[in-house]
Each structure stands twice: as C-alpha cells, then as structure tokens.
C-alpha cells in the first residue's frame, strides 16, 4: 500500500519557496540598487552611498522625514493613551450595555477602505481649515491618531485578557486602593502590551500614504507622499535610498515589537 505523507505533498515545497523568494526578491533588489553608483535605476555601476548623500542633502526630504517622525510620534502617543484607557474599560469586567458598540467603533478604521476615510476627512477638514484658519500639522496628527487607535488597542487588549486578575484581587485584599492596585500591579504588567501597541501605531502612521495625501495642506509632505509625488516624474535611485532607510527603521521597530510581545509573557 502506498504511504501517504501530508507533510510532503508534491509541488507544495516548490510553491512555498517560490512564494517566499517572490516576496523578497523585489525588496532585496531595491535595497541593492539603492547602493548603485550609476544614475540609472537599471544599470549597475558599482557600490556607492551617493544616493543616500543626495537624499540626505535634499531639503524637501529632510523636511518630509522630520514631519513623518513628528506626526508618527504624536499620533502613536495619543492613540496609545486613549487605546490603553479603552482597553482597560472594555476588559476584565462583565458584559455591559454597549460594549460591543465600543468595540466596533474602536475597530472601525480597520473595516472601512482607507480611500473612503481619506475623502471623508478631506471634506470635513477642508471646511474646518477655512472656519478655524488653522492649517498646521494638527489635522494630520488628528487623522493619524484616529486610524492608529485599533492598532494600539488590539495588542493592549490581548495583553490584558491574558493577565492574571487574581493579582489585583490580592492587592485589594492587602488594602491597596483601586488606584494603587492599578499603578503598582496592573500598569507594570501591562507595559509590554502598551509598548507593543505604541510601536505598531508608530509604524502604521509612518507608512500611511492615502489619508496623508488627502488631509495635508500645501508643503506638508511626509516621506511616503513625497515619494509618491516623485514617482509622477521618474523613479530615481534617490527614492530607492529613501525607501531603504524607511525599511531599516520599520525593521528595527518591528524587531523591538516582536521582542516585546515574546518575552515576559504572562504566566
């Protein structure tokens, strides 16, 4: 009788290897070509850091980079703060009237196509900009904070749900006030979840193109919208260099995120 082995189906290994190679090849090519000395994106002209120097020396890129980081910093701080509160408010207690509605609203940005949110924000913020006369980065920070909320909320909620509630009970039995129990017991245990949520929110904000493109006022390009704008002309190796730099930053944050979520798991 022929043996049947579900771990060795014909062709599956081939498809998996090709899929992983196909996912990585374009990214690796882009990174390699960012070190290309030649002007052309197609011809290899030897190793050089020229395009990094060009990108770093470009004032538009500098401005966009600072703006991207500042918006991501503010948005992740705001989103993480409100998401932590919401996660505390929707876990570790019984069901209550409207808890599903809160959950749905917090996760709403995940369900609506980004282009729809983008045009909705364009309509509302365009009027508000005229009404208030304020056209600063605040609008972008507000929009980014809102769509980052679910990305901060979900890891924090997951952490809270995995947490041992008897510890807080013990603190209460030892005459800790609710605030003391929160400050000394819950919060320290929650820190890895909060840090993970904040980093995820930061990466999501840093990567955003569509909503930023619609909400930004003149001269408020972030790195992604700057790159999208560059593309209207021609792909320059400079864009490869910016992409690679952004890639390295994202990788560093994600490595930190995985380290945070993997170590010190609640027992």
């Amino acid at each position: 009788m022929r043996r049947f082995d579900p771990t060795a189906l014909p062709g599956f290994a081939f498809v998996a290897v090709v899929a992983v190679l196909a996912l990585w090849a374009p990214i690796v090519t882009m990174v390699v070509y960012s070190f290309n000395a030649s002007d052309s994106v197609a011809v290899w002209g030897g190793f050089s850091l020229e395009w990094y120097a060009v990108a770093a020396g470009n004032e538009a890129v500098q401005g966009a980079a600072i703006r991207s980081l500042w918006i991501a910093f503010c948005a992740s701080a705001i989103a993480t703060t409100v998401a932590t509160m919401a996660a505390l408010g929707t876990t570790r207690r019984g069901r209550f009237r409207g808890d599903r509605a809160i959950y749905a609203m917090v996760n709403q940005p995940l369900m609506v196509p980004e282009i729809v949110t983008a045009v909705a924000l364009l309509i509302v913020f365009a009027s508000l900009k005229v009404l208030t006369g304020y056209t600063g980065l605040g609008w972008l920070i507000l929009a980014h904070s809102a769509f980052c909320v679910p990305f901060a909320y979900l890891p924090i909620r997951a952490r809270l749900e995995g947490m041992d509630t008897t510890l807080e009970g013990a603190a209460a039995d030892l005459y800790a006030t609710p605030w003391q129990a929160f400050r000394r017991v819950t919060l320290p245990l929650l820190v890895p979840g909060i840090a993970a949520g904040a980093m995820l929110a930061f990466v999501i904000s840093l990567d955003d193109v569509i909503i930023t493109e619609f909400v930004k006022s003149a001269g408020q390009d972030t790195l992604p919208t700057y790159m999208l704008g560059q593309l209207r002309r021609a792909v320059t190796p400079e864009v490869n260099a910016i992409s690679t730099a952004l890639l390295v930053l994202t990788m560093a944050l994600l490595t930190a995120f995985f380290a945070m979520t993997r170590t010190r798991k609640p027992t």
């Binding site: 579900p6 996912l23 990585w24 207690r93 069901r95 729809v116 309509i123 129990a181 593309l231 994600l254």
Partner: protein, 308 residues
Amino acid sequence: MAGGVPAAAAPQGRATPAQARAGWWLSAPALVLLAVGATGPLIVIVIYAFLAKGSYSGVEWELSFDAWFQVLFQRDIFDDTVSFADAHLAIFWRSVKLSVLTTALAFAVGLPTAWFIATRPAAQRTWWLFAITIPFWTNLLIRTFAIMEVIRNGGLMNSALIALGVIETPIQILYTDTAVLIGMVYVYLPLMVLPLYAAVERFDMTLLEAAHDLYASRLQALRRVVLPVIRPGIVAGSILVFVPSLGAYVTPRILGGGKNMMIGNFIELQFGQGRNWPLGAALSLILLVIVLTALLTLTRLTERNDGR
C-alpha cells in the same frame, strides 16, 4: 475594600452598573477621537452624496440625486439624451474583477505555502513565518515601487525572460491590468498566507490518513476533508485580501498608470480634477456598501460552519 477593583466580577458575567459606567468613561476619549477623526466624517459623506455639485468645487446645499444618476448614466451635453456611463461601469467591473482574481490567485499560491510552512518542524516554522511577515510589514508604497522595478520593460522580469530566450523584445506589463493584478497579489499575499497557516496548523493530519485509508483520492480528500475544516482560515484570508484590493488606491495608481483606474482612483479623481464632490461621495458610499456586504457575507459563512 475590593468593591472598586474591576477584577472583583467574574469575567463571564454581567458588569455591575458602576463597572459599566467606568467602562464607558475609560472608552470615552478613544470614542471622541474616532468620532472626530474617522466615524463622524463618514456620516458627512452620506450627506454630501445627496447634495448638488458646486459650480467650481465643493457642493451647493440643496437636495439632489444627480450624483446617484451620474454613477450609472450620463446626459449628453448637446442633445440631452441619456445613455449608460460606460466608463464608470468599466471601472466598477475592473475593480471587482481584479479583486476577485487577486483573492483567487493569492489563495492558489497561499494554500500550498501555508500548508508547507505548517507541516515543517516547529523550529523551522518560526523562520518561514518571519519570511512572510517581514515583507508584509514593509510599507505598501515601497513594496509597490519594488515590484514596479521588477516588471517594468528594462526590469528584472523582462531581462530574465530575454536572457532565457523566452522572448526577444520586452513585453509591456507595466501600466496594464496585469501589472495591477501582479502588484496586488504581491502586496496582499501575506494577508492570505497568515490566516491559512493558522487554520492548517490546527488541522488534524490524522483525518487525512483516515480519508486515505477509506480510499479517498487526494483531490477528494482536499475537497471533502481539508477545505471544510480550514474554512474559517480561507474566509479570513479572503476578507483580508478582497477588502483592501477593492479599495486599492496606491497599487493601481502606480502600476496601472492613468488609464487603468480602480474605484479608489476614480473616487480620488472626483475630488481632484473631476471637481464633482457629490459623485465622489456617492461612489465612496457604494464602495463602502460593497465592502461591508462582503464582510458580512463572508463572516456568515464561517459562523454557519462553526454552528455545525
């Protein structure tokens, strides 16, 4: 003194009124932020879809169904005859067709990949998953640039095909529907692989041995045993690929050029050069309704499966 500690209630039961109030107060800042920065503006879109188009841009504040009429029909400016807006229908058709194809192709590649990863020894699995996750977390715009470099005329793909002697002159892929399709499969593939992996990993392989012992062919085992059991993973993966594909904006804009628009780009056009905000709002609502219907239908499919 334990009254105020949330942990006092059993997690499965009902919250006390005090806990419920605290729950609402703690959630309030997030709800206000979302109301201003996401949900509220969506309601404004509903209003705008029923207003008249402004003379330059924006809207006139009067009730009008013109936008909805314009979604499907166009009126000739000279003789006032009404005809179907073929261009609009073509864009809708392209969006749905490309999204369905993207989902199908991602599934065709994703299932063997997820199966392969899930059947590796545990230590290897982590690395395979890492190899799928990292590209997924890479900026969508960067990945779209990267794939553009691969498929353009002088790019990796054409150079390789020419070097292998398959073709003599580069094939024009960039700025076609095929380019958009390749690009969307490329950027959304991890979203299919990850939920499929989660489902296959939990799959009990002895079921397959049982099917085999009962003389099921491989195809029968796949159709009658594997697919029904991993259906929640298939549904989750399909939602995660289909929904962003339908609303895609960046990928078709970069890879499709100006002509091969999808709904997302068409909506943007109404707020840019088109200067027809009510039509843009109506199109946004249609996109939203299609996406929510797809979400509900697919979620129902999993629930029915769980109920059995």
